[in-house]
């Protein structure tokens, strides 16, 4: 018995000791991922004791959630109703009569595309199906039920690339082969009014769409996801035959994608109508059905140029991730980690935006004008061979006529006026689009300033009853006519010469009007323009001073991105490139650029070596923080965050507030921003929760379900209706307000909207970006952002900046020139911040030149703060396991908050005696505090905020303690029992 007792205590001692070791090891390991664990488990990290006298700064406009939900459903419908663009309508096929019977075609008709994938993925579990929408608009049993059942069981489904660790090769269209329809074909003549073909292409975070991947050639034409695959071609060929046989009367195509399909087929296969619908969100498909039924008159205008050849753009010549040719010499393949498991290429790849400003219609319309005018070595350019539908295009069920077009210069603006008459028989909405052309001069040629033939500069949309005339007055800001001269003036200029204004039904119509006004040879034009709709304004003087200062801050504007331009960056060892120029189209046409890493590029930013990093830190300190003196920290004070809810950003009292915070609390706040902010007890700043956009409040990423899922951003922009955008922004803010509960869980920040541009049709996240046009993106973003913030939710407009592709996004070097950067890629963000008052942005994964965007001082401070006057916080893109997003380099450049961190990344630790670092950290903390104090998080008033250890950490600590006691007890008992055994 005694032996048995000893054995028992021996076992218990071993077991408890082992468990003790497990607990001890678990403490540092789990702490390293504490933020992610907290978010995943929903563990509380703070206790908020509310202030009974709290002032409510933001409140809901809805008495109950049901009212809000009902409004949002209708709003999503309305956005789609005004965003969907009718591209083809032969013989007035649409609208369709009541009682029309449909047979849907393609697996995507059953498996409709509601939104993209990745962090912006919205829950489509309960979204309305195409069949339900059609039945709703045309009556029950309007959709062939047998065809519907066939697709339910056909086993074919579109496949997206995985968000994390995915790649282009995973995309599949998976259309049903024609020979599999079998017996269901006998039902078609009963539902033969319309063959309704849905062509869908999904996009998502992490992988661009394949544009010519050889291994995908068995699945898609030339390995190109945006071309019709052979099964789709076969389907359309057979439908054309069935139409000839009278089985089907009409063929109607719905383009269900934010990535523009290559539209080289719409004149074939007997297609009668084509409607672009984008990603439709939760209820948008009901609006599509209403358009088909004619209860809604389509008024959407496409915000991208739809092409017959998607590869014809200059941007496509350099799209993707290109490895530096000598990467092996620099150990790039294994350097630096990031959030994509198994991928270590944070400094391996580059992309060169060799096309400069000639993206989308800026290329096609400009090349066209130069061809017509016989200039710029445009060659025998065939516009019609490239372009299927120009930017701004869209049909209606009625017709509109313009008259009385006039332009008046009024100081810093122009007032454009015209009358629009609805000359048809049905009511409809119409978007007036104002374009301008600035002179392309010898100065431009000499100084590499490029000019597009037309640029959108104003719009308005109104309802016009049949037979009625509406008067439009549109203000164009003179500032929008400027160009950025990065070679000579090094600021914005307004050149002397002839400017043209015109109203166009689309961008191509606009350039034709201007060409007509110039008296161009109509024999070379695609259509005769209307010179009466063009207005010439002469600017007598070259102005390089008026726009050389920020209209927001009054600070000077000058070059900030010379290090991102291969022709200006001095560390590239002479690897210059030729940007596309309209002075010589053929001679400057882009080709694949081959680049190598130089020692200077490595030291300036690509290196992951700590010695190099330290040198970069010292350079940043001496360059940007040379005058820094050691500020005070942890000062005893009585100020609290809630006192600053209405305090302007430039109020000096902020310094006093921030000085109360000890260094450790500041770094804790800056380090850990993964979908939340940490509480700062020393100033009673509550921690908050932040969630993804941009199609709505997409809490599905982190658990739970989404709130309202709106359409993709391009559909939003295609409405050209800023009132709808404003309503949507407020509703997104409302969803955050309603997600906030009394337990101290405050949802007050949104990762969105997206404001990058559609540089090519193949970017995986085009559904999260508005358009190929930066100016339009900025106008829409401004309204949406202001509306979201109106509900007390601070924004992080993403992904700042030049993150216009997914391939290689983790640290890819993006090379461009300053004119293109400013005039295209920053415009959307400028609208968000400078015009919309957006409090924040999310910096991007990529680099500008060799510098990670969050560490680029010109971008994060020069542009954001000095030119645009941003007041709140800039968060990083997901920084979990992304050591290249170095905290030191970030805060010194103007980066404020990191979206997660991991063990080994705490590079601010131990630098609490470094005046520059501490000053930079305090600045970052102030920005974060500004965002939170100006959000509905302040509805808690002067609450007491107490940081608490989350339950799971407490449990581990408790288990560790218990195990220690048990181990000690077991050891004691073991010794005692052995002694007894020995004695006995």
């Amino acid at each position: 018995m005694k032996k048995k007792g000893s054995l028992l205590w021996t076992i218990l001692t071993v077991v408890t000791a082992l468990l003790l070791v497990v607990c001890i090891v678990a403490i540092p390991v789990t702490n390293a991922f504490a933020t992610a664990i907290n978010v995943a488990l929903g563990a509380k990290t703070q206790e908020v004791i509310p202030d009974p006298d709290a002032k409510i700064y933001f409140w809901s406009d809805y008495e109950n959630e049901d009212d809000l939900v009902a409004f949002e459903k209708q709003l999503c419908h309305d956005i789609e109703a005004e965003g969907a663009a009718l591209l083809v309508n032969r013989d007035n096929t649409l609208p369709l009569a009541a009682g029309t019977k449909f047979t849907p075609f393609s697996q995507s008709s059953f498996n409709l595309l509601y939104g993209g994938t990745g962090s912006g993925q919205v829950s489509a579990d309960d979204a309305i199906s195409l069949k339900a929408a059609i039945d709703g608009a045309f009556g029950d049993n309007s959709v062939n039920p047998e065809q519907w059942k066939f697709y339910a069981g056909a086993g074919y489904k579109r496949v997206n690339a995985d968000t994390t660790g995915g790649n282009q090769a995973q995309y599949r269209i998976n259309e049903v082969p024609w020979n599999e329809y079998g017996a269901v074909a006998t039902t078609w003549n009963q539902y033969g009014d319309v063959a309704l073909v849905v062509l869908a292409r999904s996009g998502g975070e992490g992988a661009d769409l394949p544009s010519g991947l050889p291994e995908l050639e068995p699945y898609m034409t030339d390995g190109d996801y945006l071309r019709l695959c052979k099964e789709e071609i076969e389907m359309l060929e057979n439908l054309e035959q069935l139409k000839k046989q009278g089985i089907f009367k009409k063929i109607v195509v719905l383009l269900n994608s934010s990535n523009t399909l290559q539209l080289d087929f719409v004149d074939d296969y007997g297609i009668d109508a084509v409607l672009w619908i984008g990603d439709v969100g939760m209820t948008g498909i009901t609006a599509v059905a209403d358009i088909l039924a004619g209860t809604v008159n389509p008024s959407g205008r496409i915000v991208d140029t739809f092409l017959k050849d998607n590869h014809s753009s200059p941007a496509m010549q350099n799209f993707g991730a290109y490895p530096y040719t000598n990467g092996a010499d620099y150990d790039v393949a294994t350097a630096q980690n990031n959030t994509d498991p198994g991928i270590g290429k944070c400094n391996r790849d580059y992309v060169v935006y060799q096309e400069g400003i000639y993206v989308g219609y800026r290329y096609y319309e400009t090349r066209y004008e130069d061809y017509v005018l016989g200039q710029g070595n445009a060659g025998e350019y065939s516009y019609d061979s490239d372009v299927a539908f120009p930017f701004g295009y869209g049909l209606s069920y009625t017709t509109f006529e313009y008259s009385n077009f006039s332009v008046q210069e009024q100081g810093d603006t122009f007032q454009v006026e015209l009358d629009v008459k609805n000359t048809g028989t049905v009511d409809g909405k119409h978007t007036v689009q104002i374009y301008f052309q600035s002179p392309y001069t010898q100065y431009d040629i000499d100084n590499q300033v490029e000019k597009a033939a037309v640029e959108l500069c104003g719009f308005d949309k109104k309802f016009i009853a049949a037979g009625d005339t509406e008067h439009f007055t549109i203000t164009v800001e003179k500032e929008d006519l400027t160009s950025y001269d990065h070679m000579n003036a090094k600021t914005y200029i307004l050149e002397d010469g002839d400017y043209y204004f015109t109203v166009g039904k689309d961008a191509h119509d606009a350039v034709n009007n201007i060409l007509a006004a110039k008296g161009a040879d109509q024999g070379r034009m695609t259509a005769a323009g209307d010179a009466g709709l063009a207005f010439k304004w002469n600017n007598p003087t070259f102005d390089k001073t008026t726009y050389a200062v920020s209209s927001v801050t009054g600070l000077p504007i000058t070059n900030l991105f010379e290090d991102a331009d291969l022709n200006k960056y001095e560390g590239d060892d002479g690897q210059d490139i030729t940007y596309l120029s309209r002075s010589d189209w053929t001679g400057t046409w882009p080709s694949t650029v081959s680049l190598k890493i130089t020692d200077q590029m490595w030291k300036d930013g690509l290196s992951h070596n700590e010695a190099d990093r330290k040198a970069m830190v010292e350079t940043a300190k001496s360059r940007y923080w040379a005058d820094a003196t050691m500020p005070q920290m942890g000062v005893s004070g009585t100020l609290s965050a809630s006192m600053f809810a209405e305090t302007e950003a430039d109020d000096p009292s902020w310094n006093e507030l921030i000085s109360q915070i000890p260094y450790s609390e500041m770094t804790n706040l800056v380090y850990n921003g993964f979908h939340l902010t940490q509480p700062v007890p020393s100033i009673s700043l509550p921690g908050t929760n932040d969630e993804n956009g941009p199609q709505g409040f997409t809490k599905s990423l982190m658990g739970g379900s989404s709130a309202m899922a709106y359409t993709s951003e391009d559909v939003m922009a295609a409405t050209f209706n800023l009132e709808l955008i404003e309503n949507m922004g407020k509703c997104i803010g409302e969803d955050f307000l309603h997600a906030t509960d009394d337990s101290g869980t405050v949802f007050s920040g949104i990762y969105g909207p997206g404001a990058n541009i559609h540089r090519t049709p193949y970017c995986g996240r085009n559904f999260e970006y508005y358009s190929e046009d930066g100016w339009l993106s900025g106008r829409v973003a401004a309204v949406e952002v202001a509306a979201i913030q109106d509900r007390g939710v601070y924004v992080f407009t993403k992904h700042f900046a030049l993150n216009d592709q997914e391939e290689g996004r983790y640290g890819i070097s993006t090379w461009s020139n300053e004119q293109a950067i400013r005039e295209l890629y920053l415009e959307g963000f400028e609208g968000s911040v400078a015009r919309g008052g957006g409090m924040g942005v999310m910096s991007s994964f990529n680099r500008l030149g060799v510098t990670w965007s969050g560490a680029h001082h010109g971008l994060m401070t020069g542009i954001l703060r000095d030119e645009w006057g941003m007041k709140g916080a800039a968060i990083t893109d997901c920084s979990v396991m992304a050591a290249y997003m170095d905290y030191r380099l970030g805060v010194l450049a103007g980066q404020d908050l990191w979206d997660g961190y991991s063990m080994g990344m705490e590079t601010l630790d131990g630098l609490d005696n470094d005046p520059a670092i501490v000053s930079a950290v305090q600045t970052a903390v102030k920005h974060i505090a500004y965002s939170i104090t100006h959000s509905h998080a302040m509805n808690v008033g002067n609450a007491t905020v107490r940081a608490i250890t989350p339950w799971w950490q407490m449990a581990i600590y408790a288990a560790t303690g218990v195990m220690a006691v048990l181990t000690a007890g077991s050891v004691f008992m073991l010794i005692r029992s052995k002694k007894k055994a020995k004695n006995g």
Binding site: G42, K73, A132, S700, G703, S902
Partner: protein, 382 residues
């Protein structure tokens, strides 16, 4: 003695309680934005009329993360309308009893199900989510499974890391009734046996379960457990063994006939696991076939008449004039190249754009016309 037993029992119970506490707790409940979901498809209520269904399916990929990602799911749609999905990570090659099998997780996802008619088609509506110990849901989804000749199917999106967007999709199939009697029957159906690569010798790290397999053609494959994380080449000459991994020579230390080298596995986040791999007696090894290491990457030089490492590219000479170019990083290659080899100068002519297609971008960035040959390496000239 009774007291001792009681004391031991109490201690054991206390241990169990404390461990449970470490695994559970009472976190705050998740807040939800208002749901904008439209009305549910028509169903037949909570009771499923005594019906039950069972689904099964897998997600599988090869590569370094296979043991972490690959999973088989057994989903039971029970008579009481509950849905329970068990997860079995078969790529860890553990087919032991489900009750104690660390690679089997009972109720990895759970929720409810019912028969509904959606848009006129009868189907099963299955709602699943990851539910943590505190009852909080994440990765919620609603799926619809349709009947095709008695077999239902749907895609299960499961979290690799619960609560995160790091998800994968398993294609599920199922039918009414029970196909697998219990979890153990399921494990036995989906278990896999680890097959070590063919090898003529090995270096091992018994403490960390690491193995470097030496193959007859001169390839070395390094495994951590069942996951390959590195490959390279090995040669043996005059009693000296030389090893390269990832294109770089590694230090092999000798102690008599005992050879040792170290391999690092990148674990992300700047962390790495180090494996000290030992071959007790290299005198028992025979030199690789042909006495020459194959091309880096573990690929035998069996294609064409010669091949050369050229930066990230591989130039493969197919015959006296034709060659192909491979880009192993993306698994891409293109035929249609021609060459002239004059001494150590290789002059390459690329095919036209119509042949190159997307590969033209790769060739444009990394390729070139003239190369200098040195052994198995080609260096771009100029």
């Amino acid at each position: 003695m009774k007291m001792k037993k009681l004391l031991a029992a109490a201690l054991s119970a206390l241990m169990l309680v404390s461990l449970l506490a470490a695994c559970g707790g009472s976190p705050s409940s998740n807040s939800q934005a208002p749901s904008a979901a439209p009305s549910e498809p028509s169903g037949n209520g909570d009771s499923q009329g005594g019906k039950s269904y069972q689904f099964w399916g897998t997600y599988e990929e090869s590569g370094e993360n296979a043991s972490m990602l690959n999973a088989a799911f057994l989903l039971n749609l029970n008579e009481d309308s509950t849905a329970v999905a068990d997860k079995y990570m078969f790529a860890n090659f553990d087919a032991s009893d489900a009750a104690t099998n660390p690679t089997f997780t009972a109720s990895y996802m759970s929720g409810t199900w019912k028969e509904v008619e959606k848009d006129g088609v009868a189907c099963l509506q299955i709602k699943l989510a990851y539910v943590d110990e505190g009852g909080n849901e994440s990765n919620a989804q609603t799926a619809y499974a349709y009947d095709v000749a008695g077999v239902y199917s749907f895609d299960l999106t499961f979290p690799v890391v619960p609560g995160m967007s790091y998800t994968r999709v398993a294609s599920m199939e199922g039918k009414e009734g029970q196909t697998y009697a219990d979890a153990n029957a399921f494990i036995q159906a989906y278990k896999q046996d680890f097959t070590a690569p063919e090898h003529v010798g090995a270096f091992t790290d018994a403490d960390n379960n690491g193995t470097a397999y030496l193959q007859a053609d001169g390839t070395v494959l390094v495994y951590a457990g069942y996951d390959k994380f590195a490959d390279g080449t090995w040669t043996l000459a005059d009693g000296t063994i030389a090893i390269t991994l990832g294109g770089e020579a590694v230090d092999v230390t000798m102690d008599g006939n005992k050879a040792t080298f170290t391999a690092e596995r990148n674990l992300g986040d700047g962390n790495a696991a180090s494996y000290t791999l030992v071959c007790e007696d290299i005198s028992t090894l025979s030199a690789p076939e042909g006495g020459q290491a194959p091309a880096e990457g573990g690929e035998p030089a069996e294609e064409g008449i010669a091949s050369y490492e050229a930066g990230g590219l591989v130039l493969v000479l197919l015959d006296d004039t034709n060659m192909k170019v491979k880009y192993p990083e993306y698994g891409m290659e293109r035929d249609g190249f021609t060459y002239v080899l004059d001494g150590n100068t290789l002059t390459v002519t690329a095919p036209g754009e119509d042949v190159l297609g997307a590969f033209g971008q790769i060739w444009g960035a990394m390729g070139g016309e003239t190369w200098t040959i040195d052994g198995n390496t080609a260096t771009k000239a100029g």
